[in-house]
């Protein structure tokens, strides 16, 4: 895995004629986890989408280096009629990558999804579904993870699994940015509070 680096300078976003944030500058590099915190509506999602170039930034620059991005938004992008494994598999192929069987099985295992792997996602519980989306990210060979409230709907055990997976990703030199209301006490984690 090549390491990724992100440099953001003086970023501003407006939505509906209102300033969400401006003058935002920070940088993140491989092995680091940036937690975006802040009240509801402070702009975490807006920032994440801008970083992924899914959303429009109104000023400033976003420079990625050597990044291959995996995305998890508020909406998980899972297809209810496909099974857990199919969803993960198809997501990898869409990223233009041949799915790595072993990685996928490992990701499924770390989110305790092995037993559910051939169930259509439609029949999953909310937390099981969120875990599927997380497993999709973990299974990807991407080095930069952008996660919007990954802890949503997870039970305690799964939250622990997610921390473990994140730690492993960082240890392997990966970079992650996560919007969250849960405090992330992890080595390598910093936090950026929006709307403060």
């Amino acid at each position: 895995m090549t390491t990724a680096a992100l440099q953001v300078t003086d970023l501003a976003c407006r939505r509906g004629g209102r300033r969400v944030f401006d003058g935002l500058s920070f940088s993140v590099k491989g092995g680091e986890l940036l937690a975006l915190t802040g009240a509801n509506g402070s702009g975490k999602t807006t920032l994440l989408r801008a970083l992924a170039s899914l959303g429009r930034a109104d000023a400033g620059t976003i420079v990625w280096q050597g990044a291959d991005i995996a995305w998890l938004g508020h909406l998980d992008g899972l297809k209810g009629d496909l099974t857990v494994r199919e969803n993960i598999d198809v997501a990898e192929r869409l990223r233009g990558v041949t799915p790595d069987r072993q990685r996928i099985e490992a990701a499924l295992a770390s989110f305790d999804l092995a037993a559910l792997a051939s169930r259509p996602v439609r029949t999953l519980s909310a937390g099981q579904r969120r875990r599927t989306a997380l497993a999709r990210v973990a299974a990807s060979q991407a080095n930069a993870w952008l996660l919007d409230e990954p802890f949503n709907a997870l039970d305690m055990a799964s939250q622990k699994s997610l921390r473990a997976v994140l730690a492993q990703h960082l240890a392997a030199g990966g970079l992650a940015i996560a919007a969250t209301h849960v405090s992330l006490d992890m080595p390598g984690a910093r936090s950026l509070e929006l709307g403060a």
Partner: protein, 221 residues
């Protein structure tokens, strides 16, 4: 290319797992076309004369009927974000989606049309013309409808708006499609019409994916 195939197969699989949407479209096609013989009465040479127009108009409506959801479900469940982020060209992804849409609507319509044509009293050559023109022409409808669907993502009244945008752009295709059947009746071949339909399809193929991709990027913002 693998991404293209993956998306194509994903969409096909999704449709097969939930055949209701396609079935409704085909049912509409049958009901809409059978409606005309009923209205006009059994005067067969009149029926045969309007058959081409009716089949094409019904095919146009049917294609648009299903196109509304082409990108909407991906938009609503967040899968569009994954598409937009994929490193492959969005233009190709768009093509894959339109192709899979065509496979489940345009293709069945083209196959079904000769059967309905029999009910209109069309002769063998005309039946072939109906099937062939629909086969060559419906991809254009799928692409144009795809553009309209992408443009109206997240818009209010998207259904009617989609039809409003797409119908005018489909006019040339429909004209030449029905023209082919006309031409047979005058004893000419329909080769020219088929060639122009193919030209229209290729033009759509070369240009519209760019527009659709641009529209989808807008929708993601």
């Amino acid at each position: 290319m693998t991404a293209f195939a993956a998306l194509f197969r994903r969409d096909l699989r999704l449709v097969l797992r939930r055949p209701g949407d396609v079935v409704v479209v085909l049912a509409f096609f049958v009901v809409a076309t059978t409606l005309f013989p009923l209205g006009i009465g059994p005067e067969s040479n009149l029926l045969a004369r309007i058959a081409g127009g009716v089949l094409w108009a019904a095919a146009l409506f049917a294609a648009l009927l299903s196109l509304e959801r082409l990108f909407a479900s991906d938009y609503e469940d967040g899968a569009l974000d994954l598409l937009l982020l994929a490193p492959g060209a969005l233009e190709l992804a768009v093509l894959a989606k339109c192709a899979s849409h065509w496979i489940v609507t345009g293709l069945p319509l083209a196959l079904l049309a000769p059967l309905l044509g029999v009910a209109f009293g069309l002769d063998g050559q005309s039946l072939a013309a109906v099937a062939l023109t629909l086969l060559v022409g419906t991809p254009t409808l799928s692409l144009i409808g795809g553009l309209a669907a992408a443009l109206t993502l997240g818009a209010r009244k998207s259904g009617a708006l989609l039809a409003l945008l797409a119908l005018p752009l489909c006019v040339p295709t429909v004209i030449f499609g029905t023209g082919a059947i006309e031409a047979i009746a005058t004893g000419e071949g329909f080769g020219v019409h088929l060639a122009i339909l193919a030209a229209l399809a290729l033009m759509a193929l070369a240009t519209l994916p760019w527009g659709i991709a641009a529209a989808l990027r807008l929708a993601g913002e």
